[in-house]
Each structure stands twice: as C-alpha cells, then as structure tokens.
Amino acid sequence: MANKPLKTILYAEDEADIRQIAQIALEDLGGFSVIYCSNGYEVLEAAKTACPDLLLLDVMMPGMDGPTTLHELKKYPGFENIPVIFMTAKIQSEEIMHYKALGALEVIAKPFDPMALAGIIQTAWTKA
C-alpha cells in the first residue's frame, strides 16, 4: 500500500482508557484521522458512512470480537479487501499466524507503547 498514503483509521477498542491514550498516539503523534468505536457493532454502523483506509481492531471486545467484526464487515460493499491490524494482549505465535491468515497486516501486542504505535502502523502500511 506504499503508493497510497494512510490517512483515516477506523479503530475499535472497548476500553475507554486505552482509547484515550491511543488518540494521542494516533492523532497527535501519527497525524492520522481516526474514527473511534467501542465495539464491533459500532464498527459495522460506522462503516455505513465512513471510508477508512485501515481498520485497527482490538481482538477481545464484548458482544462481537475483532475477528468476527472483520468477517461481518467484509460483507459490506467497498470493505471486501479492507486492510486490518489486530491488537491483542494474548500474543502467541500461532495466534499471529491465524490473524495473518485472516489478512492482517500486523498484529500489535498490548500493552502497546504510545510513542511507537503510529510508527508500527505506518511501517505495516508501507510494507504491505
């Protein structure tokens, strides 16, 4: 995706404290514009009006988890090939392989470093 600049991120995370710190990491430090959702249903709702370049999904969310949200979202027109990055606390090598098989550009371990988050996302985007 090196030719297209990464501008808008649709980000889902159920924990408000983490969303706040991610806001500084993604907007202030990364310069991205971000649409925030606190669960999978909100992601599906937001997708009706927004055109994000990238999805950033927490894996474990109440109601609908990250991978299920991705699966549902891909049924929406224009979202068939949406690039995604997962964030998860339980990072194991098999788990990474599994998410990569779902098409994830990157799997980011939680807790993340706010100073490095935007860089990791940008690198994953540029490399893809």
């Binding site: 159920d14 924990e15 404290d17 983490i18 706040q20 710190i21 500084i24 202030d28 430090l29 990364g30 310069g31 474990m60 109440p62 606390a89 990072i91 090598s93 990474i96 392989m97 990157e106 799997v107 980011i108 371990a109 939680k110 807790p111 993340f112 470093d113 706010p114 100073m115 490095a116 935007a118 860089g119 990791i120 940008q122 690198t123």
Partner: protein
Amino acid sequence: MKDDIKEKLHALFVEYKKKLPDKFKNLQEQWQALTQQWDTSPLKDFHRAVHSLCGSAGTYCYPSISNAARELEVYLKPLLDNTSISLEEQQVIVQCLQAIEREIHQTINTQETFDILLSVTQRSSTAVYLLDNNESLIKNLSVILEEAGYTLRAVKDIKTLENEFLKNPPLVLIIDIDKISAPDSEYLVGLCRQQKTKPCLFCIAQNGDILTRLKSVRLGSTAFFQKPIDPLLLAKKIEQSDSIILLNPYRILIVDDSLSLAQYYSLILKEAGMIVQYITNPLLLIETMEDFQPDLLLMDIYMPQCSGLELACVLRQEPQYTSIPILFLSTEEDRVKQLSALNLGGDDFLVKPIVPHDLVNVVISRAKRAGVLSSFIKKDSLTGLLNHTNILQRLEIEIIRAERNQETLSFIMIDIDHFKQINDNYGHPVGDLVIKKLSSLLMSSFRKTDIIGRYGGEEFAVILLETTPENARKNCDDLRIKFSKFKFNIDNHSFKSTISAGIASYPDLSDLNTLISAADNALYAAKHNGRNQVINYGSI
C-alpha cells in the same frame, strides 16, 4: 498542540492512576454479587472487567497491576461455562483479587515518574539472549560478556525464550537461523519490533552463503556470524549495538522556518537521546554550524529567505561540510523533484507529515553511518580519541565560542613519564597497552562534554569547557593520582607508570598559538621539576 503531547500524556496517566481504586471496587462488587448468585453471564462480565484492567494497566505502565490481573484472567477463563464454583476455586479468586488490591495500593502510594516518554532511549536491559544449545559457545561467550557488563541467557526452546522475553526484553537476541522455523523466527522478530527499546537481532548460521545472509537480513538482523563463531567478535558487536546513542549522543541541527515544527521535531529527537538545536532563520546556518558542530542537518526545503537546496549547495562548497548528512523535510511528493534535491547535495528526503518513529530511525541510521566514516578520518586508530589535527581544530572553535559566551576554558597537555623506557623494557605492545589505559582513564575521568585527543606518541591533549585553571588543575591531578596507582601486570612482572601535565587557560591567554605553547611550557616545567605532577602556566 503538538508541543503539548508530553503534558497531555502525563495528564492522562495521572487521571488513570486516580481511577484505579474505583476500578478495583467495581471488580470486588462484581465478585460479591457472583458469590451470592453464581451465573455465567455476570461471570463473563467479571472476566471482561479483569481483562480490561489487565490491558489498561499495562498500557499505562503499571506492569505489576497488569500481571496480577492477568493471573486472575487466566484462572477465570476455563471456569466461564461452569454452572457452579467450588470453595477451593473461590479461594483462589479471592487471593488473586487480594494480589491486585495490593499492587494498586502500592502504586497509589508511590510517587513514580512517568518514564514512558523516555522509552526510546532507555537502556532497559543488559541481557543478551541466545537461542541455541551449543555448550562451548555459551560458555565462552558468557565469560566474555560478563567482563563487559552483560549477562548471557542461553535458552533452548522458543517457549522459554518467549517467557523470558516478556519478563525482561533483551538488548540483543541471537538466533541460529538453521534451527528455527520460519513462523517462529517471524514471531520473534515481531516481538522484538514491538518492544519500547527494540532489541537488536543477531543471526548465526552454519553457511555464510548469500542466500543465508539474505535470510538473516530479511529478518531484520543487524549482524550475521558464520560458525564457528569468534566470541570476541560477537561481544564487540554487542558493545557497538549498545553504545550507539548512549555514549555518544548525536548532535542534530534543525533548520525550519516554522517554529512549532522545529520544536516538534526537536522534541522527538531529544526524546530519542539526541542533542538538538534548531534555527528558524536559515541565514544563521553557517555560524550555528560552526558553533554547534552538528553530526546531521535536518532541513526544510521551502523557507522564505532561501531554499534548503540553496543552503545545501552553500554548505557543500565548504570543505569541512562535504560529508555531513543533510536530510530534507518537505511536503514534496514528486520523486523527480526529490531526486534533483539529492543531486544538489542532500542525502535523503522525508515527506511531511513524518511519523516520529520513522524520523528517529532515519536520523539515527544516517548519523551512524556518517559517524563511522568520519571517525576513520578524525580519530586516532589506537585509542579512538581525536587525532592531532582535529583536537587543534576543536580548540580553535572552542576558543571562539568561549570568547563569544564570555566563558573560561582550560587546555591540558599530558605526557606519559619515561615512556621510552617502558617500550625498551617491555616492548611496543606493552607501550600501546599503557597508552590505551591512559586514554580510557581520560575518557572516564572527564565529562562527556570535554574534548580529548591524542596529540601524538605518548602525548595527550584535553579541552575542558567552562573550567577555570584551578578546577582544571584539580581534575587533572585526580587523574594523575589514579593513573599512578594503576598496576600493569606483564607476565610475571608488574610496573606502574606516571604522567606529567601542563595547563593553560582562556581568557588569561587568548589565542590558539599562545594557549598551546603556554600549556607546552607548563608541561615542560612539570617534567623539569621531577615529573608526576601537574603545573598551571600561571604558576611557572
């Protein structure tokens, strides 16, 4: 806005800390309700709340709270679909909750500093992990590394490595690429990449062919070693990986007409451990260069008085600036225009907006390469100190700076006493050893800002900035005493050596040549008076 990021983060951290007792109270209430009436749905909510605390506490740099919550989370997981709970299980959960409470209590009662913003530069570890079971390599390497202040942890399988890694991320991770599967190696590389201070990856392999080396490079390794491995060489590389920023911070000059952008880049680079100065008026470039002596220049292209490209041309016409790396910052995305900028003397092009992480990486990699090259030119090969020409150049610059800032400066010339006898009695390799010992003592005795050079043969020169003749004499005398106590052991013999030193200071003496010859005269007087002493020019 961007200048306030640090404050904003800090405010968030303070706010989060305040919320911790409520978060715990909430957990406890959920647990109380469960013990009254066990049901899988509120149990799932409880599990979720524990999971949330685990994640958020980790993000807000409270690993001990996060770990305590993680233990409970892991314990609850298999119980999620159970329709009842045993007394024993209840006890474990209560204990886990108590552990979380203890950690929260402790956190609230300690005044911590939010060191997260320094994360890029902190040396978090002296650990070197080796994923291999080659006993002789482990043995040799651990002895050598221990001497250098590192600890080697040899791990035999990836699971153990993963656990160790999460507890204490290493400075360097060494893997044998013949023995590790592709998904495992990729997983480890990912783990490295996500650390606050990214560990260096070294690869070792049986074959040194191009395909193996490519595989190593593709994993993101910074070093490759073919077996059999020379532990000394490996240890040296580890030391190099460690010393890049910590021992010698890069000096970066930013030229950008936008004050807020200049401050923003400056903040990012400073947080990565660099010494940064910025100017918003490009016409001040030459004098700032002379004054600040940067290792790298970060320059905006479009500025009102002149363009960055013109400035690069001006600099490249000056012999002393032909090799300094120049990075252009611009919104220019046209590759043809970018390339023409590089033709005019730039080294790289960074397109705005720039991700902080990328900026730091590009600056470090450029400055590092330029530093290696210029050290071959500027430094003495035996000691790594500045050579004769460069120490004099620095003295000239520092005198001008001291004059402008109305500061004092002292110049010391040091000579090893009876050095010829050492060479004659023990041979030149021993003479070299004495020189190396003195140079390492010089580096450890003076401040990082002081400038140390090998003047020639057994003679050294030191420029002490903002130092009066009296203080210079005192510092130098401490060094003299330390050196005279050091015992050199050669085979069955041991001997000691001494030094003499002469000091001259600015503004008592105000030009380069007078200062040098005064220090030389003082050194001569010290020798004449019986050696092993320090004399100020003023007291001859």
